[in-house]
Amino acid sequence: MKHGISELDWNDYVDRCAPQQVCDRIEAHLIGCLDCWEFYEQMSRANRALVDAAEEARQKTIPEDRQLHLMLSGVFSRIRTAEAGVPLHSQVKGRLSRLETVLAPFCGPKAAVNALHAAARSSPASSLERVTLDNWGPFLEELTAIAAAMCGETFAGLVRESGQF
């Protein structure tokens, strides 16, 4: 509290939501107090900066329609899975584990794990931890391509089959 004006009064005044009585009191004081006038100017400037920056942030964070559609599909997919009573991560984890089992006898356990990581990195998931039901398709395509390069098309076909939900 300075000069009888509390922080909350100042806050409401800058927000233009202070009661008329408070507005009158602050305005009467501002006429005669240079310190408080400067303080008010600084607070208003900060407020304007925030309003402008917020508008810019809103403009620069609009997703594409395609992205919205993908997210909405993802939400329904998660809702359906949750309703079926199977946790999402356990479904994905189970499928990854199955793929590792398929890959390991052909290329060794270490290479199998590396192939899974490489496929995830090249896919929209960007890492194995982020592979979900929503981005499973592109991940499996990458893994199939890696499997084809490592052990041929027939093996790649087996990987694709094993990875399908």
Partner: protein, 185 residues
């Protein structure tokens, strides 16, 4: 249809169609909150979906439309705290992204949020003030909605906003918009 009507429609009818309309109307806001709090776009998309699964599942408990945004961002905030807790590998709540992983990239969507002004302003604030400023100024939440979202009294919210403005007043003079205004005047 206005956002408020879309929310009312969903809370009243709870149909898939109403949910789709709600998602289209407001998912941008939830995703933006995550992006501006320092998450990359893939994580922001993932967490936005988690939030809307909870909206679909739990919105029936919400009786008052006026509390919807406060409740929505409380869900989003909890989701973010859980994410940071998982990422940190610690068993305790983190109020801010881990210093070495996120602090240099408060906004990280490649090529889009690099030069964003709000990022610069948020850096001057404490972690608790960043949520407040984003929700108040970017998302336009009222003080009452903020109180619901952050589970704090309205007086505390106002006091923190006041302090945030005070801190920002020191760097706000450098705003390009202000310089333009001064030039015009």
């Amino acid at each position: 249809m206005e956002e408020k009507q879309v929310i009312e429609d969903f809370l009243t009818n709870r149909t898939d169609q109403a949910f789709c309309a709600l998602f289209e109307a407001i998912c941008v806001r939830v995703r933006r909150y995550f992006l501006l709090r320092g998450l990359d776009s893939a994580t922001a998309d993932d967490m936005t979906q988690n939030v809307f699964v909870k909206v679909f599942r739990d919105a029936g408990d919400l009786r008052e439309t006026d509390r919807f945004y406060g409740w929505l961002f409380a869900v989003a905030r909890n989701e973010m705290i859980s994410y940071w807790r998982r990422e940190s590998g610690l068993g305790k709540v983190q109020l801010e992204p881990l210093v070495h992983q996120h602090s240099e990239t408060l906004a990280t969507e490649p090529g889009v949020l690099e030069d964003i002004r709000i990022k610069e302003l948020l850096k001057a604030l404490d972690p608790a003030e960043r949520d407040l400023v984003l929700l108040r100024f970017v998302e336009g939440l009222s003080y009452e909605e903020l109180a619901v979202a952050l589970k704090l009294p309205v007086g505390t919210i106002k006091w923190r906003i006041f302090n945030a403005r005070k801190k920002l007043s020191r760097i706000a003079a450098a705003s390009p918009a202000d310089r333009a205004r001064e030039h015009i005047n």
